[in-house]
């Protein structure tokens, strides 16, 4: 969005989310799933930052950890200058007024026994955003904002289609007037024609209400459409972060390149070079040493097996703010290193 300012609304530092694996006779912790392993990034007020990656890369876990739906193992999360992890449960609940989330499956995240009116007024009541007598009006206004009719106000979730239910989820998030919304695969379950409607709605709302989005998705088409900046994750680590244009037109990490080349293009005349990776994503229980992508990377060397690459920028090749975690950005760019499939 053009309204992007440079103030950081959300700042995540060294965030770790480990889930213990219990085993043995005594149910002791035997290992951890390192779902998110030491990541840092910030989201500026008014922008959309997307987190992309494949299943198990930690993108949803990151979203949940920020909201403390799962308590993070370590790290810092600052929202509007406040340290979220230092808040009490009660304070955190209050804080969620400003920081909302919309999930993938709206049917699983709204109460099937409540009408739309109840769903929306409950959210407002909990966060105490409006005096009671003004809520009715606000509900009607919200329905209109998300493109639902006033006559649908007393209907139950099962009376709506998937796209409409997602609109209810959006209305609920908006009902408390948040500054930021985390969208966790919010359009993934929808058919394309409906997905486009919801994406356009999200964009319109951002313009009108000055919202900040953290948009979590596996769909790079959707991400290109909605984001200002994009962050790519692989096995719990950030491998690349950049403004949208740089990421799609000038990707630097071999994983980002592979991901982009793997998406089928809806145009049979496009001849593209497809990089096909060997094997699957390794398990996050025992992630590979060094660069986590080395087991599948066509450029990997001994150094990649031993040393974990830091996110870095090379000013000659990359724009400001574009960083990738690869030892060999320069060598790959110059052609000095050739892929070994």
């Amino acid at each position: 969005m053009t309204t992007t300012t440079d103030t950081e609304l959300l700042k995540v530092q060294n965030l770790k989310q480990y889930f213990p694996i219990k085993g043995g006779v005594f149910g002791r912790k035997v290992n951890d799933v390192k779902a998110v392993d030491d990541i840092s990034f910030e989201v500026k007020a008014g922008e959309t930052l997307s987190i992309v990656g494949e299943s198990g890369c930690g993108k949803s876990t990151t979203g949940r950890a920020i909201l403390r739906l799962d308590e993070p193992t370590a790290g810092q999360v600052e929202f509007g200058g406040k340290d979220l992890l230092a808040l009490s449960k009660k304070e955190m609940r209050k804080m969620r007024k400003n920081l909302q989330i919309i999930f993938q499956d709206p049917y699983a995240s709204i109460n099937p026994r409540q009408t739309v009116r109840q769903i929306l007024s409950e959210a407002m009541q909990i966060q105490d955003v409006l005096p009671k007598d003004k809520r009715e009006e606000r509900i009607k206004e919200l329905m209109k904002t998300v493109g639902l009719g006033e006559h649908q106000i007393d209907r139950f979730p099962h009376e709506f289609s998937g796209g409409q239910r997602q609109r209810i989820g959006i209305a609920r998030a908006l009902s408390v007037d948040p500054q930021m919304i985390i969208c966790d695969e919010s359009v993934s379950a929808l058919d394309v024609s409906i997905q486009a409607q919801v994406l356009n709605l999200l964009k319109k709302l951002q313009r009108e209400l000055d919202l900040t989005y953290l948009f979590i998705s596996h769909d790079l088409g959707v991400v290109r459409h909605i984001s200002d900046r994009v962050l790519v994750m692989y096995l719990g680590k950030i491998v690349e972060i950049a403004d949208k244009k740089s990421l799609f037109d000038n990707p630097k990490h071999p994983y980002t390149k592979t991901l982009l080349s793997a998406i089928p293009v809806p145009d049979p005349t496009v001849e593209k070079e497809q990089i096909i990776l060997k094997g699957d994503v390794p398990s996050p229980i025992d992630p590979p040493t060094g660069c986590r992508f080395h087991t599948r990377c066509p450029f990997a060397t001994d150094k990649c097996i031993q040393e974990t690459p830091e996110l870095r920028n090379n000013g000659d090749l990359m724009k400001d703010g574009h960083r990738a975690a690869c030892h060999y950005i320069e060598e790959i760019e110059s052609g000095e290193m050739q892929p070994n499939y």
Binding site: D191, K203, V265
Partner: protein, 349 residues
């Protein structure tokens, strides 16, 4: 579409579900054929009838559903006239199918090897030992690493991509003439999807199979299909070879679908949308089924259903705009498609 080397021909297929709310016409008069060695893609959104079409070919429609009418001719034989026993010798042998979620189609209590071997034992009468030997070959063919160990693995021990490879191995074991792939990569991550699509296309060429690919993903269609049928609310609305379909789409629904797709390879400002939603199959519009959502719809569209008609380019379109009867202004569907361009009275939701 009149190709002499047709492997399967579907003619006026009608499959309905008879529920307490009345008849639901899931597939309503579908025609297509798949030329030998080629891939036909059937695209559509949820509820368009694409999966029911493929299940009808396999005769896997269960009560309250029933194939109400039409013909399905496979290699000159009428599939709808076959007995259940005859169908069983065709399924998994001459026509195979792979589904979206391999975990639900694999048997969790048998090893991968047993499940592939079963196909050989049933259809070719091989002994268990011979069958396992051949299964090993299949696992190698579909690119499963250390195939010998995997023969003894259970489905839960494999990753999603590996399971789908195992499914493909089972499906291709008896060298079928037709492979029906119903959303084969929808549950997979893109990097794995790319592997599986490449594998399927490669094997198809190698083994000379024909393929019917059911998908909602236009990208997958563009990369793997030779011909495409676009389905909407139980009917085919457009049929064309893949290049023509993407270059010169003619039906407003196809155009809307292409324009509402967010692309990762080009910049788009605003996404076009298709307004409203798919009609419920137990309450279909009388005229053109897309009319309530179509920006070009006129009275004639609301009142009467157009046929699927041949076009100059060899494709077929079910739309009044492309007929002589069209009584509206001249329209170039691809260029003029614009949300809210015109609305039919009373259909605005």
């Amino acid at each position: 579409m009149d190709n002499t080397n047709t492997i399967i021909k579907v003619d006026n297929l009608q499959t309905s579900f008879f529920t307490h709310r009345g008849e639901v016409k899931a597939v309503d008069g579908v025609h297509f054929d798949v030329p030998a060695g080629k891939t036909l893609g059937i695209v559509g959104e949820s509820g368009s009838g694409k999966s029911i079409t493929s299940l009808s070919i396999m005769r896997l429609i269960e009560s309250p559903g029933r194939i109400k009418g039409g013909n399905i001719t496979f290699n000159g034989e009428d599939l709808l006239a076959k007995t259940e026993a005859e169908m069983r010798s065709i399924r998994g042998n001459k026509i195979s199918m792979i589904f979206q979620e391999p975990m639900t189609s694999l048997n969790p209590v048998y090893t991968i090897g047993d499940q592939i071997a079963e196909a050989y034992q049933i259809h070719q009468g091989l002994s268990k030992k011979e069958a396992l030997q051949k299964s090993l070959g299949m696992l190698e063919l579909v690119g499963i690493p250390s195939p010998k160990a995997r023969l003894k693995a259970y489905p839960h021990e494999l990753s999603g991509g590996m399971r789908q490879r195992a499914m493909i191995a089972i499906a291709l074991a008896c060298n079928p003439q037709l492979l029906i792939a119903d959303e084969p990569t929808t549950a997979l991550d893109v990097t794995i999807q790319a592997q599986i699509l490449r594998l399927i296309s490669g094997l198809q060429k190698e083994l000379g199979m024909s393929m019917l690919l059911i998908t909602h993903d236009l990208g997958v269609v563009a990369e793997t299909c030779d011909y495409v049928a676009v389905m909407y609310a139980g009917k085919i609305v457009e049929y064309a070879d893949v290049t023509t379909l993407f270059k010169q789409p003619k039906h407003p629904y196809t155009v809307g679908l292409l324009k509402s797709l967010p692309r990762h390879d080009i910049d788009q400002d605003e996404l076009q949308v298709i307004k409203g939603m798919v009609p419920s199959p137990d309450d279909l519009p009388e005229g053109c089924r897309f009319a309530p959502r179509c920006p070009f719809a006129r009275e004639m569209c609301v009142n009467s259903l157009p046929d699927l008609r041949d076009q100059e380019e060899g494709n077929q379109v079910r739309c009044w705009i492309h007929t002589d009867e069209w009584d509206g202004p001249e329209v170039n569907v691809k260029d003029d498609y614009d949300y809210g361009y015109r609305t039919v009275e009373g259909t605005e939701s």
